[in-house]
């Protein structure tokens, strides 16, 4: 199972500069991928395109070798396979209680209430949310909200999970907990793509790194190869 971007161009309406310009990458099931690059380099756009929220003006997105169809059925299928967790959990939690929020995806997939309930309980246990199921979402801490946002996407059982800087604002303990969870997901065969600015984490966690610069892939490959060179050592040197 793989998700392939082949020479993909994406521009937002009303802008002349494309947010993604000829991006070609391949993400394989079970892979741990880090997406790095400056703010505005196209990381979030790549994620939205992977999920079918944005449609490429040129190029192709292929799911398991088949071009993605952008009709209703094709989009629904794509979203079952490719999940996106956004940076700010507050933008994703729509329901007043954790239990109800987690149930949105499974019910949208057409599962019965019993199946949806089973899935909600499973992802809640997986993300350590079993005790919080009936808590109102507005009363959760930042780390808890991040886990609920992640669980809400995992409830769709995606095979490709894109996580957009979700862990950036979390304390080290919660970060570790979420990163460990992402490792478990990858071990279970789900491809995890994590957009982050934390290079130490990238070196320790990722198997493959995609470095975007102004909407283009600057480099990609193993962390030791991609995060080498004078610009990397300059960034990682002492600031003063």
């Amino acid at each position: 199972m793989k998700l392939t971007f082949r020479d993909v161009y994406v521009a937002y309406p009303g802008t002349s500069t494309p947010a993604l310009s000829g991006v070609s990458v391949e993400i394989v099931a079970g892979q741990r991928v880090a997406l790095v690059g400056r703010n505005g380099s196209g990381k979030s756009t790549l994620m939205l395109t992977a999920n079918g929220i944005l449609q490429p003006q040129r190029g192709t997105v292929l799911l398991d070798g088949q071009p993605v169809r952008y009709d209703r059925r094709g989009i629904a299928e794509l979203r079952r396979q490719v999940g996106v967790v956004f940076q700010n959990p507050d933008d994703q939690l729509f329901s007043a209680s954790v239990y109800q929020d987690l149930s949105l995806g499974p019910l949208n997939m057409g599962l019965s209430q019993a199946e949806a309930r089973e899935r909600v309980l499973r992802v809640a246990a997986q993300c350590g949310l079993s005790d919080l199921l009936h808590r109102p979402t507005h009363s959760l801490s930042g780390g808890e909200k991040a886990r609920v946002a992640l669980a809400g996407v995992l409830a769709l059982s995606p095979r490709f999970l894109f996580v957009d800087e979700l862990i950036n604002d979390l304390d080290p303990w919660m970060r570790k907990r979420i990163v460990r969870l992402l490792c478990e997901l990858a071990d279970a065969g789900c491809a995890v793509v994590l957009a982050t600015h934390d290079w130490a984490l990238v070196r320790a966690w990722a198997q493959h790194v995609i470095w975007l610069e102004a909407g283009r892939v600057l480099r990609q490959g193993q962390p030791s190869a991609v995060l080498a060179g004078p610009e990397c050592s300059d960034l990682e040197s002492a600031p003063c």
């Binding site: 109800q100 009936h134 507005h138």
Partner: protein, 236 residues
């Protein structure tokens, strides 16, 4: 105060009781208050509601008392106009030059106290519902009662957005405060206007981002969620 009411709604002993029972109790109490114009009946309803809130639902008595006191304060302002009589009031004050006497008579005082107790009894009935029933449960009940789905969804999103926007408001207020945005009356007025305008824009942005997130979770236009598992005291 509002946020604390919301917290009690989730943490009280009756939070898992099916909302239909709580709405039923509240409606019955409200109906009794409105149907019987007797101060004793109203006082009885007030007492029963107090026992249900503090005794049954385990709401701290101080919190319940503070809520009722705050509401009584508003109520007193309204009842004052009922207590005041204009015209034939022997002990009243005469408004100079107009020949009108304003004062309090025994009858008007009795009428005002009746109104006060009646309204306070009704408010206590609604407080019982507000303090024991989370808003999502009320929405779930509306769904069961076949209220229009779109209406229930809008109510749910509005409820969720109240907290998101309150959070944004607090962050904006702090950001202005640290830059002396509330240092004097003129600055405070300007900051308040700016915060109001920004909050309006923020609400739109949040809405857009929420829509993106919903779409990424295979949203098809309807916010279908699982109902909670409630307890039913009379069902085995």
């Amino acid at each position: 105060m509002w946020l604390r009411v919301d917290t009690f709604a989730y943490t009280n002993r009756l939070s898992t009781l099916h909302p239909a029972y709580k709405v039923g109790i509240s409606a019955l109490a409200l109906g009794v208050c409105l149907a019987f114009d007797q101060p004793l009946t109203s006082a009885l309803v007030l007492g029963v509601m107090w026992v249900l809130m503090v005794g049954w639902a385990d709401i701290p008595w101080r919190a319940a008392a503070r809520l009722l006191t705050a509401e009584s304060g508003f109520l007193l302002g309204g009842v004052l106009s009922v207590a005041l009589s204009v015209g034939d009031v022997p002990s009243g004050l005469e408004i100079a030059g107009l020949g009108i006497r304003v004062g309090v008579s025994a009858a008007s005082l009795q009428h005002a106290s009746n109104v006060f107790l009646r309204v306070l009894g009704s408010i206590a009935a609604l407080d019982f519902l507000a303090l024991t029933t989370p808003v999502p449960d009320l929405l779930e009940l509306l769904r069961c009662l076949r209220a229009p789905e779109a209406l229930v969804e809008v109510m749910g999103l509005t409820y969720r957005f109240i907290f998101v926007l309150l959070d944004s408001l607090e962050r904006m207020r702090r950001a202005h405060d640290v830059r002396l945005g509330f240092a004097n009356r003129r600055a405070a007025l300007r900051s308040t206007a700016l915060i109001g305008a920004n909050l309006f824009i923020e609400a739109f942005r949040r809405g857009q981002r929420l829509e993106l997130a919903l779409r990424s979770r295979a949203w098809s236009g309807s916010l279908r969620v699982l109902p909670r598992a409630y307890t039913h005291p009379f069902r085995r």
